[in-house]
């Protein structure tokens, strides 16, 4: 595990923002952290970065305990804040050079690493000052600076929340790509973003982790329904199967059939064979993560 969070709590005055949080983040995964605004996501991230002191519990990153202030564990971390701001009088290369000096990257390696990262985030051909950058460009520069020291953990706080669809797609694609090099821990309130690239998902609600699991497990909670498309129009297939005992309905040019157990599933297949209806596609209807989150939020 690259990050181990053991029973941490954080209070601001009387308000308990984080309550007994336990979380393990496996290496080389994209770990999505979903939750509504104000649920405590940013506070948890700041605790992991040692920017806020804990009231209880402990955090380790790559085995190094996190302490408040100048924590050694930050040598393993790259951080992208929700609305990153950089020195406007620098261009991307100058800014990354400053970051390289601060992270003690050897001079010989600097230029190559900077060029590599600017290529990765699509800013290689940009020479203008940061003051002229769009929000999306700033986010991409933010990812580049966060990856500069080859961190074991990349923390991104709401990296897509303020971007247009094209910008969001770019950032998600970069985050997915860097998984080979590092572990990505990113928070978002856009559930579809988490669904798109995460291997693991946890949900924080009112300071408590409501669920955490692999996305595949969360999504494949089969509701007993299957979605079919056929080589013939769905309306025609529906008409031909109308007399059968199966519960079915047409939904977005697909046939949704309730097949709660193996025997009904086999019976339905036999019926299709009898009717000579060829299947084009078939998959179980899954519970979308968004539905799960909405259930939690009430």
């Amino acid at each position: 595990m690259v990050v181990q969070i053991n029973g941490i709590s954080k209070r601001f005055g009387d308000h308990e923002v984080l309550k007994d949080i336990h979380l393990d983040i496996p290496e080389h995964t994209v770990f999505g952290f979903v939750g509504a605004n104000g649920s405590g996501k940013t506070t948890l991230m700041k605790c992991i970065l040692g920017l806020l002191p804990l009231n209880a519990g402990s955090i380790t990153i790559a085995g190094e305990p996190v302490t408040f202030g100048e924590t050694k564990s930050n040598q393993y971390v790259g951080y992208l804040p929700d609305v990153p701001d950089f020195y406007p009088f620098y261009n991307a290369i100058q800014y990354l050079e400053l970051c390289a000096v601060i992270t003690n990257i050897p001079q010989k390696e600097r230029q190559r690493r900077i060029a590599e990262l600017l290529e990765l985030v699509g800013l290689a051909s940009t020479t203008s000052l940061i003051s002229t950058y769009s929000r999306g460009m700033k986010q991409r520069l933010g990812i580049a600076q966060a990856l500069l020291n080859r961190p074991k953990l990349l923390i991104c706080d709401e990296p897509t929340s303020a971007l247009d669809p094209a910008g969001r797609a770019q950032i998600l694609s970069i985050l997915h790509k860097v998984k080979e090099e590092t572990t990505v821990f990113f928070s978002t309130h856009i559930v579809s973003d988490a669904e798109q690239i995460c291997d693991h998902v946890a949900m924080l609600h009112e300071g408590t982790i409501i669920f955490q699991d692999e996305l595949v497990n969360l999504k494949h909670q089969i509701t007993g329904q299957f979605i079919f498309t056929f080589t013939i129009p769905v309306a025609e297939a529906h008409e031909r199967l109308r007399h059968t005992p199966f519960e079915m309905k047409i939904d977005s040019k697909q046939l949704v059939v309730s097949l709660p157990n193996e025997s009904t599933q086999l019976a339905f297949m036999q019926e299709l064979t009898t009717q000579k209806i060829l299947i084009q596609s078939m998959h179980p209807k899954t519970r979308l993560l968004e539905q799960l989150v909405l259930e939690v939020l009430g």
Binding site: K46, L49, L51, L52, P53, G69, E70, N74, Q75, V77, Y79, P81, V83, P84, D85, F86, Y87, F89, Y90, L98, C99, V101, I102, T103, N104, G142, Q145, L148, N149
Partner: protein, 254 residues
């Protein structure tokens, strides 16, 4: 050390790009020229504004008048503008969040404070040196300065007082993390020093004494030894305030 120099380079680059260097050069050059110039034209101006026929026996201006202008203009105008120029060193970065990224990369919090203070100190040194040199050269052109005592020490009194105010401004700016925090704290400290100056015994320690005793220093009524109390206390206080700022910033929640 690399980190310290790297961040100092950023501070320098920023000060140039945000026209601080240009402003300091222009303002303190003007002040340097203004001091002897004001002393020179003051009698002419007085004569112009007196009622016609009035007889006023104005003494000829001397080098002392020029330097008195220096010790009036630089603390009153120069230092105030200087403090305003450097009053948002920390708050700007804390508000925008530019520092947080670098701090999570391992930038030491003490490095932030010491580099910012050092850069402001360099600018203050440049400002005083520039203004002093121009005033000196211009005054020497018009008058004989050989009668003046402790000229350099008197300038160093102003310099040391400025260092204290810079330290206080940085502390206030770190403490409140708002653009006006630093200026407000500095203003309160100066008001407190003025109130303390009401009591004659405060002359033994009050940093404000470094500004008010310059005339007596130049005329030889006071010697540097007479000001060792306020001088050392001011320097000591400046160092203490910088240490306090570092300690405060180490515990600051970001």
């Amino acid at each position: 050390m690399n980190q310290w120099l790297g961040f100092l380079k950023k501070e320098w680059f920023e000060s140039v790009k945000t026209y601080k260097l240009l402003l300091v050069l222009v303002i303190f050059s003007i002040l340097g020229i203004l001091n002897p110039f004001t002393a020179k034209i003051s009698p002419v101006l007085f004569e112009q504004f007196m009622p016609e026929g009035a007889l006023v026996n104005l003494p000829e201006p001397t080098a002392l008048d020029s330097w008195l202008q220096f010790y009036k203009n630089v603390p009153q105008m120069g230092l105030i503008v200087f403090i305003l120029l450097f009053s948002t060193l920390m708050s700007k970065e804390l508000e925008k969040g530019t520092l947080v990224i670098l701090l999570t990369k391992g930038l030491r919090r003490s490095t932030v404070i010491t580099t910012k203070f050092f850069m402001a100190l360099c600018y203050w040194t440049l400002a005083i040196t520039l203004s002093f040199t121009i005033t000196y050269a211009y005054t020497a052109y018009y008058w004989d300065q050989s009668q003046l005592q402790h000229l350099l020490f008197a300038a160093s009194c102003l310099y040391v007082f400025g260092i204290l105010l810079l330290a206080v401004t940085l502390w206030g700016n770190t403490l409140f993390a708002t653009p006006y925090g630093g200026t407000l704290v500095t203003l309160l400290v100066v008001i407190t020093l003025f109130i303390a100056a009401i009591f004659p015994t405060s002359a033994n320690w009050n940093p404000l004494e470094l500004l008010t005793a310059t005339t007596q220093l130049l005329t030889g009524e006071l010697t540097p030894l007479d000001l060792w109390g306020p001088y050392t206390i001011t320097l000591f206080a400046a160092i203490l305030v910088v240490l306090l700022t570092m300690s405060h910033f180490k515990r600051k929640l970001l």
